[in-house]
């Protein structure tokens, strides 16, 4: 990865522990990481440009992950970065709903750090 211009990732989860875990894994792989506690905070942060990827929980207060996906599809918004869901949910119909709403992936917790990094590299085009 270009260390002068690392890819920026937004991690969205209401659990501090999960945010720290994911951020640590991505930071050690050279990504620049920002955090949000729910979909509403994520939406605020995504108004600024420069994010290459969003990794997002599903069940969160205020605005959940699926609601965030729907909000990002608003025609009035500029193109959003790819969104990958990271959740303890594994139901096929939820996965299908997320896919139709524009999600690029679905990771079921607990996910190994190297798997997470591999997904992040693939979706951000990092070798």
């Amino acid at each position: 990865m270009d260390t002068d211009n690392p890819k920026k990732v937004l991690v969205v989860d209401d659990s501090l522990t999960v945010r720290q875990q994911v951020s640590a894994a991505l930071a050690s792989a050279g990504f620049e990481v920002r955090e949000a506690e729910n979909g509403a905070q994520a939406l605020d942060q995504l108004r600024s440009s420069g994010f290459a990827l969003v990794i997002c929980d599903v069940n969160m207060p205020e605005m959940d992950g699926l609601e965030l996906l729907d909000a990002l599809r608003d025609p009035g918004r500029t193109a959003s970065p790819p969104v990958v869901m990271l959740t303890s949910e594994g139901r096929a119909d939820l996965i299908d709903r997320a896919k139709k709403a524009g999600a690029r992936g679905w990771l079921v917790k607990p996910i190994k750090p190297d798997q997470l990094v591999a997904v992040a590299r693939k979706l951000t085009g990092v070798g």
Binding site: S15, T17, N59, S88, G90, G105, V108, K109, Q115, L123
Partner: protein, 220 residues
């Protein structure tokens, strides 16, 4: 918020005699006020019990931790510094319930993800991890129950800490209890499930609900 109920504080605590920290107030009544609930029958209790223990063992006793089932009844707790994590479940068909995970902070510290923290973990970090564990445990239970055609949504977890906490279950027929020891730490598990629609909880008519397993990474 779903997932509350069945947890009350000791009278001494209400009188302010201890330094209990209530992080969230819980409703006490959940089930029987809603009309004729269908409670777990014997076969369903067997299935739910098996699923609860399997999910808990795989999540909480991974990394070669020792696992011992101490009993199928939770004694009235009087442990100092107990952390109780509660998370609800429900679906549009009238299924309701909750999972409650009870242990001392030392247990949650012992299973905190390795390699992600240096130094002393704060009380807030431990409480957050307890809520995440409850979330992941109910997620695993949900995935296991999908094979029986059962599907439900998870609520946002709640964590309560207190010096003297007593767990009460409103209706024992709707509750499953297990007490386990993981690397010597006592961990109590309660799963409460009932159906308000007057139907069997696991009907046997529905086919398995497809679900991705833990650790899956799907790219579209």
């Amino acid at each position: 918020m779903g997932g509350g109920a069945g947890v009350v504080t000791d009278p001494l605590m209400r009188a302010g005699a201890t330094s209990a920290q209530i992080l969230h107030s819980l409703e006490v009544t959940t089930m029987s006020d809603q009309g004729a609930d269908t409670l777990m029958n014997r076969d369903e209790r067997t299935i739910f019990s098996s699923v609860l223990l399997e999910a808990a063992r795989k999540l909480l006793a991974s990394d070669n931790r020792s696992w011992e089932i101490a009993g199928d009844q939770i004694e009235p707790l009087d442990l100092s510094g107990t952390l109780v994590a509660s998370i609800g479940l429900s679906n549009a068909d009238g299924l309701r319930g909750k999972l409650v995970l009870i242990a001392q902070p030392e247990f949650y510290r012992s299973v905190y993800p390795r390699g992600f923290h240096h130094g002393e973990l704060s009380d807030a970090a431990i409480a957050d991890w307890a809520s995440e564990l409850a979330n992941q445990l109910l997620g695993r239970i949900k995935n296991l129950l999908s094979a029986h055609g059962l599907d439900f949504s998870l609520s946002i977890p709640t964590v309560i800490g207190g010096d003297r906490v007593r767990l009460l279950c409103r209706d024992s027929h709707s509750c499953l209890e297990h007490s386990v020891r993981i690397d010597g730490h006592q961990v109590d598990l309660l799963l409460e499930v009932a159906h308000s629609g007057g139907r069997k909880i696991i009907s046997g008519d529905a086919g398995p609900v497809a679900a991705a397993s833990e650790g899956s990474a799907l790219l579209f």
